[in-house]
């Protein structure tokens, strides 16, 4: 990954930030057209009305303008200033209301009175505006003129998919969501990391052990639709993976476990996070909140955890206008990308090895051990002996690394030496 690519991540986030996304509509398509400058994302369209398990793909929503204007002609709330001002999926409306009538359609955060909240109403037809609580309190009695220039009509839901083929058909699945308007950490950090990680993998196409699939979905309905269309394939082919979300802020890394709690995805994530930082947050599946809900649903049971920095709902900026471009940083995105690369490297190298020699080999013969034995040298190359001691055809490399309490990438460097000297071989399994 070049420095240039690293700087590009924040730039991509900045470009995507102003776009008004929702679970359907042109905002998603515009987002994908920009991502396609980096990776050849396949764009799928699913018609409104399509059934997906217990759900139906809703009508497509688009919005051009929306405002609340006072009697003096001032736009006191203006979609042009922030797309958070409009409740997502608001139906078209034009009319004049008293302040009291209007207030039934206003959403604020009394405890965060300067912030605009993010509100949606996908499955019940209504309209509404979101605004700072303090601003609402400044509104004077009188009539207000409302205009919502939106459309909610049959159309389609858009999602993106991108695959980097590996040697095996077994897949590692990365899922991120693309349905939120102008908020930086939740959600743009996810698609941005996914895009650049996918981009970095393109050079390795055909040479990785696993196939990597990247999904850019509207949250919930998108994941459910995707699963419903691909269920049998997913069950056969998904080996591990993660939802990537809320990963651009400067908080500690967080991992939310799969429902089973002990899948390969859990083992990989907990190992990597433990070794790159001793201070990460570990969440149980009960704390779930994003599309891991669908991937882990009973009967679906795909081993998909969720990888984050500050978990959704745990930070005050969550789902407000304060989740802006200042809340995420290029450095945090770079760290997160490195972490995701570690996850994948761990999947790639997590083989099972078996010793070729019975008993300890004579390491000195191979230049792996000093041929003089002195009291103060006895611990030398201990690591080689420890790795060898667990190359037993049973422990995978993650298990070896856990037993000897070293990062798997340190263990792998020993494994390479041992393979070179034909002291171990890959176990068939």
């Amino acid at each position: 990954l070049t420095d240039k690519m690293k700087n590009e991540m924040y730039e991509l986030l900045e470009r995507l930030f102003p776009i008004t996304r929702s679970i359907t509509g042109n905002g998603v398509r515009e987002t994908f057209s920009i991502i396609q400058e980096h990776i050849p994302l396949i764009q799928h369209e699913v018609p409104s009305g399509t059934k997906a398990f217990d759900w139906i793909v809703p009508d497509e929503w688009n919005i051009r303008d929306a405002y609340i204007m006072d009697d003096d002609g001032n736009r006191v709330v203006d979609y042009q200033q922030s797309n958070l001002h409009i409740v997502s999926y608001s139906v078209p409306f034009e009319g004049t209301l008293t302040l009291d009538e209007l207030k039934k359609h206003l959403f604020t955060l009394p405890e965060q009175p300067d912030l605009i909240p993010y509100v949606t109403s996908y499955y019940e037809r209504r309209w509404g505006f979101c605004m700072a609580h303090n601003k609402m309190n400044e509104l004077k009695d009188g009539n207000y003129h409302i205009k919502i220039d939106s459309s909610l009509e049959p159309g389609s839901m858009t999602y993106g998919e991108f695959v980097v083929k590996g040697k095996s058909e077994k897949e590692i699945l990365f899922s991120t969501y693309v349905c939120h308007p102008s908020m930086a950490n939740d959600e743009l950090s996810g698609p941005v990391i996914a895009t650049f990680f996918a981009k970095s993998l393109m050079d390795r196409a055909g040479s990785t052990k696993y196939t990597y699939r990247f999904l850019f979905l509207p949250e919930t309905i998108g994941a459910i639709t995707y699963i419903s269309k691909n269920f049998d394939r997913l069950k056969n082919i998904v080996f591990g993976g993660y939802v990537i979300t809320c990963i651009g802020d400067s908080g500690k890394f967080s991992y939310l476990k799969t429902r089973a709690g002990n899948t390969i995805s859990d083992r990989v994530a907990m190992h990597v996070l433990k070794h790159i930082t001793h201070d990460y947050n570990l969440y149980e599946f009960l704390d779930r909140g994003s599309d891991e809900r669908q991937y882990n649903a009973p009967g679906v049971d795909l081993p998909i955890g969720s990888i984050m920095r500050s978990k959704h709902r745990t930070y005050p900026e969550y789902h407000t206008s304060a989740d802006n471009l200042d809340f995420v940083s290029p450095m945090a995105l770079n760290e997160s990308l490195s972490m995701v690369e570690r996850l994948i490297e761990t999947f790639e190298i997590n083989n099972i090895y078996i010793c070729i020699k019975s008993c300890e080999p004579q390491l000195g013969k191979y230049g792996l051990y000093n041929n003089i034995s002195k009291k103060d040298m006895i611990g030398q190359n201990r690591l080689i002996k420890d790795v060898l001691a667990y190359c037993d055809g049973q422990h995978d490399l993650l298990a070896v690394a856990e037993v000897i309490n070293r990062p798997i990438w340190t263990v792998k460097s020993i494994i390479d030496q041992l393979l070179n000297h034909k002291l171990i071989k890959l176990a068939k399994r």
Copy 2:
């Protein structure tokens, strides 16, 4: 359960208190005739000399009067004042002894000098009196006239049995013992709770999932005899159950585990006690003391734990004249009965369910979820989603409740909603 019934519990205990019970004899029969005013208990008679595994049913013991009289004609120890004064199973005796000779037959508690101890000698023919240590010290030198008007002759051992049939032949077994003279907590609280719990179940005969069997047995010999006569049936049919004892005092609830330690009876009791009080005593099988010893013996291995308030031997009043009507209370009995009802309700509702829909259902469609999504509402109906997430055909309801850390009765109320909306179904297993 009506308030009237609740008050009746203490009244029943008061009526049974004065009766002189032992492991055989008319006291047990009189006790049963009073219990039969509440439930149609079947009374079984097992002849003396009947073999029961390593044991033989002993001769029947009855007593009419017993006293120690001084030279002035004063009854210094008098069975008519307390049936604890006579060692249970004392053989008939009449004679005059010096104080020193008499003392070989006296039992006192030097560390609780005002209390009369409870002493038995079922399997070795002897006679003896129990008295307060302080009273014994007041006895002056001289001759004492002893009269024990008892009989110890072939007869029979009496036990009671009562069954409330359910839909399944699988049984929940409640065992309580009826062999102690005038002591309130150990033992009358047990038979009283068993009687009233059985009585409350009579209305549900045929409609419960499990069959409920109530045994009123002389401790040890009664349980061993019952098991020896019913071994094959018990092994096939007993699904869970409890010994009920020492359950009328105002101490904390206590549970003593089965020998295996992880049976359904253990899981049910620990879940219920955790959720009705965070402060209960949990005992391992090593602390056993009552008929759970027999039910859990190697090769018998019935999953029978023991449910108590203050465990036998842990309270100073245990097996003394201080275990009297003041030591138990109507309120404690009522709480205990409610707790036992919770145990049974838990057995009754502990099914395994499985989701009907793949992925999360659209809860809004069923009125189970608010169709507007706001930051401060996101946790709404979390409980429904959590219950659904573990209706996977694997977790029984107890396991679901443990995972999401809620009482099973709360989980059951969610289950009922989900069943109503055909979102889950009973798993066949």
Copy 3:
């Protein structure tokens, strides 16, 4: 074991101390000839050049004299004063060197400047001297005359083996090493304990449950050679066992677990050490250092732990001239021998028993229980009931002892009573 034998242990250690042992050579043979005064050890000779897995038995090394002499004819370093002065396996050399040239062949311990270190170079031909760091610093510039009168030529490697047959062919293996020059704890305490323990078992030949095999091997190469020659037999026949090393000092007992960590050898050692001292050191296999490395290598996987007092490398005297006759004591050796006897007794008595009677037997009939029941006697003979409760055909005696938290030898005394009364029998398994 007689007191005389106990005193003999330290005496044997004293006799063996001055001998110059290495992994080959006459020192080992001389050592064995002295041990043979106690047990009829079989002496094996393996020719130099013999292949053993990844290793080759090296040439035989013997040494007669070695010194560094200054220009005045003083032996400033003299093998005759301590055989630690010569690097083991030093090739013959004679010559004159400047101090600077000489220093390339000198080994000292700067942090323990008064001690002579123990250094070996088995697999690379070099020569060297070991000396106190302070002494080296006193050497003046000038020429030094070196003489090493050693031989390193084809010959053979010697090891010892001794077997006490038991009723079963299943073996408990004790392995100790014989290759260090004058150091008392590491290593002579090991061979001495092994010798006397073997000696004490001779009287029981044919009557023990297990066969006991004692190996006296040069460390590493000896163990690897032995395993390579006996692999199939070992895999079929070894039931448990221990490396015995560093067991004559007055430190706490230590146990180093097998690679699997839960073998019968681990269970036995941890139980015995817990009950003879609550304060022992428990080490994981990662801390290994002696021949347990070979016995537990992947694919070999013999359940051999390592039993010690102060573990190798943990005490400052380790591999220096301070590991001398003062560092070990007769009392420590006696305690260690008693501990080893406990280990073996535990293997011998660790059967599985099963109750003959259903439910609790009537212990009073057998004189095992008082026939009067009083409050303050209820705990009597609790131990008998507890042992009976776990004689279920599943728990071996170690498991029974662990459940009831008593030493297995206490449990065994109860088992004997129960066997006498035909209340339990040996379970077939």
